[in-house]
């Protein structure tokens, strides 16, 4: 008779492992017996399971007390107690990443086999990330050590209908298990489990049932830990996306807008033009469809009431140079912190690229004007038409306690298309600026736009609206690599813009009043340092082609104009300049970061405000590091139903092709439906408790209470069963070993 003991924890599948081993023995014609010791069922509690294998009928039904071999499913259970009753030549088979030698201090003189079954099980996605089920993996190791034929293991797994992943994990363990007879004197067992009854279970002499505080049984304890929702981690502006969506879900539109205004002065702008990395990272995205955060932000900005603006109460004076999103953000946050802010803009209108670079069909002027005026109402002085160069910057710095420079990217990347190209070529940024004032005529022109970013797409769509036809975008990589917002590309194509991928212009020559653009065909090569595939020219005969057009618009990105920077100056980590005689200078926005999105510029301006506030007042407003991100594994999907997103209506392409009227409308309520609230209610609140009380309702012991948003576990009675953790839909409750 061969007897095995399996030491594991509830949830690891120890009893099933015993049954699988017994099945394998049965398949080779032997009698076998498999059973577990069932106790108060709790995942994570230490448990034992046993196997008997014999050539004769087995009549013993007792627990195994002198095993031939021991299998340990959990590294934390390794110790001298494992050796209790173990026969001298027995194997100790342990789930651990260690080699047998590394266990020599505990198991010297014994036969020891080790395999990292946890890693193998996780790699094969057996169980969950938090609780991998290692039994089938360990079966492979046991089979090798106890010399089962592999076919018997396959038979055992298949007869119990285990998946291919289990089979693969078992095979990996079968091959990976390391076996050794450890040198040294055979280590002694801890004293064997006593079979004698305890002296007395009873506290009282009346023979009443024992009173037990069930908390004494616990081997694990739940604790609550809020994680960072992926949308929040993704937002470059630092918006508390989950919280504002949650308020919308409660139909508290004013509250939602207040949360947004804590981090961003431009929710109406971002609710229209943001590429919304929050939606890309939304855990609903692979499940069904991301929560429509951008539409919701716009909805909050349109329907929420803004709180009354504060006025400066500090003596400190800060100059902000540049009124693009970074400058506006710094201005707003500094003003709200009580500083006196003067905002300097070289043009005669505020807004920077928001005004000049984003067409009205994406961002209507009145939306921008309203949000800027809300910023200014915080006691901000705006100076328009104020050109800043190195000398005026020095002058500004003398008159202020700090200066924030966010002049963006003024150097436009050009392209040498030959000496005779000039009359046909213009920069996309200039084109957009003139198009918004209808200060350029392209009706009937054939337009080619070079580039793949938002400026290129905006320029193409603006040209279309001004009557150009056809309008083509030439891009040197493919659609998949275009930095422009995907939905904008979709809309452009729907409106009739043509996209030619893998094309780069080489030269332009005039011919009879029109331009002949010579282009090269490209292919995608190895990734470059940005991680995108490098376009490489084709060498075939038709690798070049000519195309006739009337106008070429370059939208190939911008660089910063560093002539502002004082010579010899050095940018420190926090964006402040060293070696400067005047007040500290801080740089932000695209000028400093070149992140290229409104949201990133807003975040940059906000961080600059914290730096400046810290320097001026000594008060540190920087938030602590984010908690780990609540990725999809933290979400308990069985608690959620699939649902489609609510989309805002779009103007039809035919209509918008000829008009600068806004393409996307806002989420509009339908009779009997608050569409925005319904969409917001789709939010899973990943990693953040939203007081759904699933934990309280499912606690079998009733040990979890909530008073307001304060939760209290009664650990005198918590058995550590983990039901609360497994029922929390959003991964806020975690189990920890005691």
């Amino acid at each position: 008779m061969t007897e095995l003991t399996i030491c594991g924890r509830g949830g690891q599948g120890g009893v099933t492992l015993a049954k699988l081993i017994a099945t394998a023995a049965f398949q080779r014609g032997q009698y076998s017996q498999a059973f577990g010791v069932y106790a108060a069922e709790r995942s994570g509690a230490p448990l034992a399971a046993y196997v008997r294998i014999d050539d004769r009928e087995i009549t013993n039904h007792n627990q195994v007390r002198q095993p031939d071999h021991v299998i340990v499913l959990d590294r934390t259970l390794v110790g001298p107690q494992v050796l209790a009753g173990l026969k001298p030549d027995g194997w100790i088979i342990v789930n651990t990443a260690e080699s047998p030698d590394e266990l020599s201090s505990i198991f010297s003189g014994w036969h020891v086999a080790t395999v990292d079954a946890t890693a193998i099980a996780v790699a094969n996605k057996l169980g969950t990330r938090a609780v991998p089920i290692v039994n089938t993996t360990m079966l492979g190791a046991v089979a090798r050590v106890l010399t089962f034929d592999w076919e018997q293991i396959v038979g055992a797994l298949q007869s119990a209908r285990f998946s291919e992943a289990n089979l693969a994990a078992a095979r990996t363990a079968y091959e990976a298990v390391r076996m050794a007879l450890l040198p040294g004197v055979r280590a002694a067992a801890a004293c064997a489990k006593s079979t004698a009854a305890p002296a007395s279970l009873f506290d009282e002499n009346v023979g009443a049932p024992p009173t037990i505080r069930t908390g004494a049984w616990a081997t694990r304890r739940p604790h609550r830990e809020q994680l960072t929702p992926p949308c929040v981690a993704a937002c470059p502006a630092g918006n508390d996306v989950r919280s504002f969506v949650a308020e919308l879900g409660k139909n508290n539109v004013d509250g939602a807008l207040c949360i947004l205004l804590e981090t961003s002065p431009l929710p109406g702008v971002c609710g229209r033009v943001c590429p919304a990395p929050c939606m890309q990272r939304c855990n609903r995205n692979p499940f069904d469809e991301s929560v429509q955060v951008r539409e919701l932000e716009r909805y909050a900005a349109e329907h929420g009431r803004r709180p009354a603006p504060t006025q400066p109460w500090r003596a400190s004076r800060v100059a902000v140079v540049g009124s693009g999103p970074a400058g506006l953000s710094a201005t707003y946050h500094l003003a709200r912190l009580g500083h006196c802010v003067s905002l300097y803009e070289s043009r005669d209108e505020l807004g920077g690229l928001l005004r000049t670079g984003i067409p009205a069909y994406r961002l209507p002027r009145d939306v921008l004007d309203e949000e800027i005026s809300h910023i200014l109402r915080h006691g901000v002085k705006a100076h328009l038409g104020y050109q800043v160069d190195r000398a005026t910057l020095l002058e500004l710095s003398r008159r202020h306690d700090a200066v924030f420079v966010a002049t963006g990217l003024q150097e436009l990347r050009g392209l040498d298309l030959g000496p005779r190209a000039d009359g046909f070529v213009m920069q996309g940024v200039d084109f957009l600026d003139r198009a918004r004032g209808f200060d350029i005529a392209v009706r009937g022109e054939r337009v080619v736009v070079i580039g793949g970013g938002n400026t290129a797409v905006d320029a193409a769509r603006s040209a279309l609206r001004l009557g150009a036809h056809p309008v083509r975008i030439f891009y040197r990589r493919t659609r998949a690599e275009m930095p422009a917002i995907g939905e904008e590309i979709d809309e452009a194509l729907a409106e009739g813009v043509e996209l030619q991928e893998l094309v780069a212009p080489l030269a332009l020559r005039p011919d009879n009043g029109e331009a002949v653009l010579t282009c090269a065909r490209l292919a995608l090569g190895e990734p470059d340092q940005t991680g995108r595939p490098r376009p490489i020219p084709l060498t075939s005969e038709d690798a070049q082609f000519d195309i006739r057009c009337d106008r070429v618009i370059l939208a190939m990105g911008q660089g910063r104009d560093i002539s502002l920077l004082p010579e010899g100056a050095e940018v420190r980590m926090n964006g402040a300049l060293a070696g400067w005689a005047g007040a500290p200078l801080y740089f932000g926005g695209d000028f400093a970061t070149n992140d290229g999105t409104v949201a990133a510029a807003l975040g940059s301006g906000r961080r600059a405000a914290w730096h400046i506030h810290l320097a001026l007042t000594g008060e540190d407003l920087f938030p602590p590091p984010l908690q780990p991100v609540a990725s999809a594994e933290y979400v308990h999907w069985s608690q959620f139903d699939h649902s489609s997103a609510h989309h805002a209506p779009h103007a039809p392409p035919v209509q918008r092709r000829r008009s600068f009227v806004e393409v996307r409308q806002s989420l509009s309520d339908e009779p009997g439906h608050n569409v925005a609230a319904e969409e917001a209610a789709r939010c899973l609140s990943c990693g953040v408790c939203n007081l759904c009380d699933q934990c309280i309702e499912h606690c079998p012991e009733g040990v979890l209470r909530r008073d307001g948003d304060c939760f209290r576990f009664d650990f005198d009675y918590c058995k550590g069963c983990g039901v609360c953790a497994s029922q929390c839909p959003r991964g806020v409750i975690h189990m920890a070993e005691l």
């Binding site: 009893v15 017994a22 009698y31 076998s32 017996q33 498999a34 069932y38 108060a40 007792n62 079979t195």
Partner: protein, 393 residues
């Protein structure tokens, strides 16, 4: 019989399903189903079975589970269910009803300690509390005995000379959740072994009548006496069923009692369930060492096989009874029966009949524990109050 590896629960579920299906040509089968640890897997298995004629009805309690069985049996169907511990307690009213209605229902009782204090492990207090409910009671050793006895239970219960429900008990966890090698019968074999279920007093639409209405004292007493007489016919009917079993399956399971080395034994122990299997190994080892010891596995508890037991004990002067149960204020229930068997007989004189209460609450009764019991018994010249032996899980 195909050989397979099954837990006790799944073995019981399979045999119930085979027996139910075997009645498809008659009135089919039906059972109420309500889960309780450690019986749940039986119910789970049965709920997944597609019967040609019959169904398992999920209900909200054990009380209703037995009510479904009563209704089904009164409609002439082969009826069965399973329960444990406090579930059996809750079912009790209808357990008695099934017995007094004389309905050949078969119930698997997966023995579990009654709470409080809460306990999920084996002892026999739950089913023995129903000993007076006019049910046959079988206490099975392990998997094969369980399978064989369920088939025998249907055959005996449905026999026109008996027509009483039958309870088949097994050890919770030690059998119910332990996977062992077992020979399962085929459907054809069960079809051949179990005649169609016939309930002569089943309700008929063409002959409306009320069953179980008011009866006067004399009628009631007569009804009880008929039940007693039916009980007394069980040993003979069981022997016939064993003959039929042997013809059908080619082997003969143990009957009401199974003796091991009792022939010339001076000391005999009486036990049941898996404890008997451990005890058998202990007795054989001590016989090899020259001790005149023997044992009797007592499978049939209701009716209690008094005469057969007296015959089996023979001349042994020391009789020990192992009780994994306890009737407070008295002692072990099996011991009461054994003592009553000797009561008023000449065989009682000079014998030691000692009760040992062991393994209550599911303690692991090891060979070492049983050897201590045998040692204790062999030293005794007089019986004493029940001896308690508390053992750990």
């Amino acid at each position: 019989m195909p050989r397979t590896l099954l837990t006790g629960n799944h073995a019981a579920g399979r045999v119930l399903a085979l027996a139910g299906e075997a009645n498809r040509a008659a009135r089919g089968c039906c059972g109420g189903a309500y889960p309780i640890t450690p019986q749940t897997e039986i119910i789970e298995y049965l709920r997944g079975v597609n019967f040609t004629r019959g169904r398992i009805v999920p209900v909200e309690s054990e009380h209703s589970a037995m009510a479904v069985c009563i209704g089904a049996a009164l409609a002439g169907a082969r009826a069965f269910t399973a329960s444990s511990a406090n579930g059996l307690s809750y079912m009790t009213e209808n357990v008695f009803a099934a017995g007094y209605y004389r309905l050949p229902i078969v119930m698997i009782a997966v023995n579990r300690t009654l709470g409080p204090p809460w306990n999920i492990w084996v002892d026999q207090g739950d089913s023995l509390a129903l000993r007076d409910a006019a049910w046959l009671q079988f206490y099975t050793e392990a998997h094969q005995d369980l399978v064989d006895t369920i088939l025998l239970a249907f055959r005996v219960a449905e026999d026109a000379r008996v027509l009483l429900p039958a309870m088949v008990a097994l050890d919770g966890f030690v059998v119910s959740h332990t996977q062992m090698v077992v020979d399962l019968p085929t459907q054809e074999q069960v079809d051949a072994f179990l005649p169609p279920c016939r309930v002569p007093h089943a309700l008929r639409a063409d002959h409306p009548a009320t069953v179980g209405g008011l009866t006067w004292p004399a009628e009631t007493a007569h009804h009880r006496r008929e039940i007693q007489e039916a009980m007394e016919r069980v040993p003979a009917v069981l022997e016939e069923a064993l003959d039929a079993f042997e013809r059908c399956f080619g082997r003969r399971p143990s009957g009401a009692l199974a003796e091991t080395q009792t022939e010339d034994a001076e000391t005999v122990l009486i036990s049941c369930n898996t404890m008997s299997r451990t005890l058998r190994d202990v007795i054989r080892a001590r016989r090899e060492a020259g001790e005149k010891v023997g044992m009797i596995n007592c499978k049939l508890f209701r009716p209690f096989p008094r005469q057969a037991l007296l015959d089996s004990i023979g001349q042994a002067t020391r009789v020990g009874v192992l009780d994994r149960n306890h009737s407070p204020g008295s002692g072990g229930v099996f011991w009461q029966e054994v003592a009553a068997t000797f009561g008023g007989t000449a065989q009682r004189d000079g014998r030691v009949i000692q009760d040992y209460i062991v393994g209550l609450g599911g303690g692991d009764v090891t060979p070492a524990v049983l050897n201590e019991v045998v040692d204790d018994l062999r030293r005794r010249n007089h019986a004493a109050a029940p001896v308690w032996r508390e053992v750990a899980l």
